[in-house]
């Protein structure tokens, strides 16, 4: 029997989303085949790898995670600069934990000030993330959108209960958004349909919410694979947005990641590569060693 390589060509493709501006803007998505299937299709944009910065000093972070950032963890701007200058991050994620109503409950205005400072201090694209509390995020992200107008941030998460306000602010001020529907393909489609009634689909990045290795990794893996399949093979144009996985924090919270440096790095790296294999186009990580490890592997030339 003669062997013929069973290549598959799909006629649909994932939209390309752009975050940031100018030379250092990042493009994610744009592919017409499954992750790493360079042999049968085109994947124009390498996955984005974002390092995470908090706007408050982290509590309960294990030493492995603090080491790279020792003196800068209490200053978001310095922290952000270190990520770019020292660790070579091409995109950052600023998580506005100060706005948590159960925590510091900082106001939208206060948070926006920090966001602007960080955005101005770096020349790479910026993701700005709320706390997932719908009402608060609505205020915070719309304020951030306004204050950082024109910077093409990626703002998230936009949820079923607050996507309208966030998306409108994003549209007005030239930003992209993260549409988040937890672990459910039908609700993901639902949210996208609602958004695309008025918001440009190419400025949407999907978040299915992520679980760490050992804590539900396989649920995230399968749902991302499924969404990618629905977009590429079933050509559902409400499922053709690029996908991100926000899991650095999930990994470093586990007791396993705190066991040793090696185990911690691998816990995060294996989670990350698994999501890339499923079809994630952008990862949000915490440790710069993880970033380096994954980046080297995905940049492999033949």
């Amino acid at each position: 029997m003669k062997y013929e390589a069973p290549l598959e060509h799909y006629t649909a493709n994932i939209r390309e989303a752009v975050v940031g501006q100018g030379e250092k803007a990042i493009r994610i998505g744009g592919e017409n085949t499954f992750p790493f299937h360079f042999f049968e299709g085109s994947l124009p944009d390498p996955p984005g790898l974002a390092l995470e910065v908090l706007d408050i000093e982290p509590e309960n972070w294990v030493q492995t995670l603090l080491d790279p950032f020792q003196e800068v963890v209490s200053e978001p701007v310095k922290w952000a600069k270190r990520c770019v200058d020292v660790f070579g991050a091409e995109i950052l994620c600023l998580r506005l934990l100060s706005t948590d109503p159960m925590g510091k409950d900082a106001s939208a205005k206060q948070a926006a000030v920090i966001a602007k400072k960080v955005a101005d201090a770096i020349d790479v694209p910026l993701i700005v993330w709320g706390t997932g509390v719908e009402e608060k995020d609505s205020q915070v992200l719309t304020e951030v959108a306004q204050v950082c107008s024109g910077k093409n941030l990626l703002l998230g998460p936009a949820l079923k209960g607050n996507y309208e306000e966030i998306a409108k602010a994003a549209m007005e001020h030239g930003h992209a958004i993260v549409a988040q529907a937890s672990m459910d393909v039908n609700l993901t489609k639902e949210l996208n349909i609602a958004l695309c009634k008025f918001f440009p689909p190419e400025k949407i990045v999907l978040d299915t919410t992520s679980s760490a290795l050992g804590y539900g990794l396989e649920y995230t893996f399968s749902i991302i694979e499924n969404i990618k399949q629905i977009g590429l093979i079933h050509r559902d144009n409400m499922m053709q947005m690029p996908i991100l996985a926000d899991f650095g924090g999930e990994c470093w919270r586990t007791k396993e990641a705190k066991e040793s440096k090696e185990q911690g790095i691998l816990w995060e790296a294996i989670t990350g590569i698994t999501f890339l294999l499923a079809g994630a186009n952008l990862l949000i990580l915490r440790h710069p060693d993880t970033l380096k490890l994954i980046k080297e592997m995905i940049s492999e030339k033949q």
Partner: protein, 292 residues
């Protein structure tokens, strides 16, 4: 298609209250309404009945039978309550339900021949819910063998392929449609049943009826013999009575054809076509399926 009324259900507060207080009035109202609306069986969904199973079940069945002559479908997971209820049913009753699990075979299934009742036999077994049509077939074949052996012929077996909400697992809905067509070959003479309202669990309230009705027509075409439905969906009853042949034919068309020209259809007709297509698995379900 035989319609079994689902509305007498302990999840509704007035019913659980009425049972607790032995107040027949709320029960009477429901029973009479369902009977008037053309139901052919009444399902009594009484829950696990952990307290006083015999006494409670007897009271419920006696009370219901005071107000209707319809045969009853007893829905409880408690075998003690089930037996007590089946014994006093005036007409040949339906045991809802037994399955392929070891526990069911030991405790629930034997009650069917013992009490001369028909039995709803679900495809669930000790491995859980089968994930596709072929697995359902394998499961039901085993259960049928056992059930026939203990003295229940196919004519008294109402196969339940187990219908899942479309918003929870759309592939299982496709599996259902594939499996229902296999039943005449797998189990000649057997009947089939499903809990129709499960399909639309979680869907927008105003669209549940549309999902349920469309699916009922589709499975009717594939040979489904009965369904547990709400007696208060007027349009559904209308369809069953044969009063909406154009809609029924439209649904059949949508099942056969891929590209129906929607521009010539009324809004209601478009809704039925789109609903048929999503139930056929032609596109990924979302609550806004009518808007795309």
């Amino acid at each position: 298609m035989i319609l079994i009324g689902e509305n007498l259900n302990v999840m509704h507060k007035e019913i659980s209250q009425a049972i607790k207080e032995h107040d027949p009035e709320p029960i009477r109202k429901l029973v009479v309404r369902q009977t008037q609306n053309g139901m052919e069986y009444l399902d009594l969904n009484v829950g696990p009945l952990t307290k006083k199973p015999v006494e409670t079940m007897e009271w419920i069945v006696e009370t219901v039978q005071e107000f209707t002559d319809l045969p009853l479908c007893l829905d409880t997971t408690n075998p003690v309550a089930m037996e007590a209820g089946l014994k006093i049913c005036k007409k040949k009753a339906l045991l809802n339900s037994a399955s392929g699990t070891k526990e069911s075979r030991e405790k629930m299934l034997p009650l069917a021949p013992k009490c001369s009742a028909g039995v709803v036999l679900s495809v669930i077994n000790d491995a859980g819910l089968p994930s596709d049509a072929d697995e359902r077939a394998a499961s039901i074949l085993e259960s049928l063998e056992f059930t026939n052996e203990i003295g229940v012929p196919n004519e008294d077996i109402w196969i339940d392929p187990v219908l899942l909400p479309i918003g929870v697992d759309q592939r299982q809905v496709s599996a259902y449609l594939e499996f229902i067509q296999m039943i005449p070959d797998l189990a000649p003479g057997a009947k089939s049943v499903c809990g129709l309202s499960n399909l639309s669990y979680g869907a927008p309230k105003e669209l549940k009826g549309l999902l349920n009705r469309t699916f009922l027509v589709m499975i009717g075409r594939y040979g489904q013999t009965s369904a547990i439905v709400s007696a208060f969906d007027g349009e559904l009853i209308s369809i069953k009575k044969g009063e909406m042949p154009e809609i029924v034919n439209l649904i059949y068309r949508a099942m056969n054809e891929n590209d129906i020209d929607l521009s010539s259809l009324s809004r209601k007709e478009v809704e039925y076509v789109k609903t048929t297509q999503v139930l056929m698995g032609k596109s990924l379900y979302s609550h806004s399926w009518l808007e795309v």
